[in-house]
Amino acid sequence: MNYQSNAQGQAPGITEHRRIRRRSYLIGLFYAAILTLASFWVASSDLIYAPGVPILLAVLAIAQMGVHLVFFLHISSAPDQTNNFLALAFGIFIVGLVVFGSMMIMANLNHAMMPMDQLMQMQR
């Protein structure tokens, strides 16, 4: 039974044969707390160059999502986790397409659309 679970992959977060220690969650909590505090500080402080704040927030958020995936969901690139990792990569790809695709299309439409007052004049 044991060799089968080694051979056929491992479910995310479920580790019957490889013992996950309490330490993993505590390390995750430590990193996540630091990153959360950092992003709240970045959003409310005046010390940082204002146009750079959204980029910094995005970096901190992506880093924290990575911390959660590694230390809480125990996703890794280990050979027995190939399926989980590929599914995650595909999920990230679709999320990127949906979010950035919608934003790009809507920005384009906004740019190409005639201003509303001119549009109203034409309808008269």
Binding site: N6, A11, G28, A61
Partner: protein, 206 residues
């Protein structure tokens, strides 16, 4: 010990196609992982709608005027702490220890409930001041996105109560453990979605 090294050696020599079906645990976990990823894709559509509509306030208040950052910080802290207590409950369930699992599950339940109460008070305040979802496209998108996350948390709490009842009545048998591990995955995934919510909606508010 000797048996284990023997099976490990055979596992390498037997080709992948002849190793038989994967254990139920791995199949259940993988299926639930796929469900979670598609749930996150649903959230990404709501995030996209929010990102497009966040500037369309129709003369109403903008996000920066409405949101209270300390309130959001408490919500974030609750959800992060509940993620960790949920992880500890998983560890206890793995070690078949009901006595350690229950306190951590109750802690998860309480922290999740505090999160929902905080969110409810925020929504109630916004509705009372006339800034409900019908005020502007921005607020419609806000209530849809944050409300969908809150609904997921509420469903998660309901699921957690059912898991506590099942562990109390059925014990930590493999079936119940699998269900509880799926709940833990769900709960951690909700925390990941919340990172997106507090960064894009609350901290990114202009």
């Amino acid at each position: 010990m000797n048996v284990m090294t023997e099976t490990a050696a055979t596992a390498k020599t037997i080709p992948l196609s002849m190793r038989g079906p994967a254990p139920v645990q791995a199949v259940v976990g993988y299926g639930f992982w796929l469900f979670l990823l598609s749930d996150i894709i649903i959230f990404s559509a709501l995030f996209a709608a929010y990102a497009v509509l966040s500037g369309e306030t129709n003369g109403g208040p903008s996000g920066a005027a409405l949101f209270d950052k300390t309130h959001v910080f408490y919500e974030t802290a609750c959800l992060l702490a509940s993620s960790v207590t949920c992880g500890f409950a998983t560890l206890a369930a793995q070690q078949r220890s009901m006595l350690t699992a229950f306190p951590w599950m109750i802690a998860t339940l309480v922290l999740g409930a505090v999160f929902l109460c905080l969110e409810r008070s925020e929504f109630a305040h916004m509705l009372a001041t006339g800034n409900g979802p019908s005020r502007s496209a921005f607020l419609s998108a806000f209530f849809t996105l944050v409300g969908a996350h809150g609904l997921h948390v509420a469903v998660g709490l309901f699921w957690l109560v059912i898991m506590m009842l099942q562990i109390a009545t059925l014990g930590l048998r493999p079936m119940v453990r699998r269900r509880f591990f799926c709940f833990a995955l769900f709960w951690h995934a909700l925390d990941i979605v919340w990172i997106g919510v507090f960064t894009i909606v609350y901290l990114g508010a202009r």
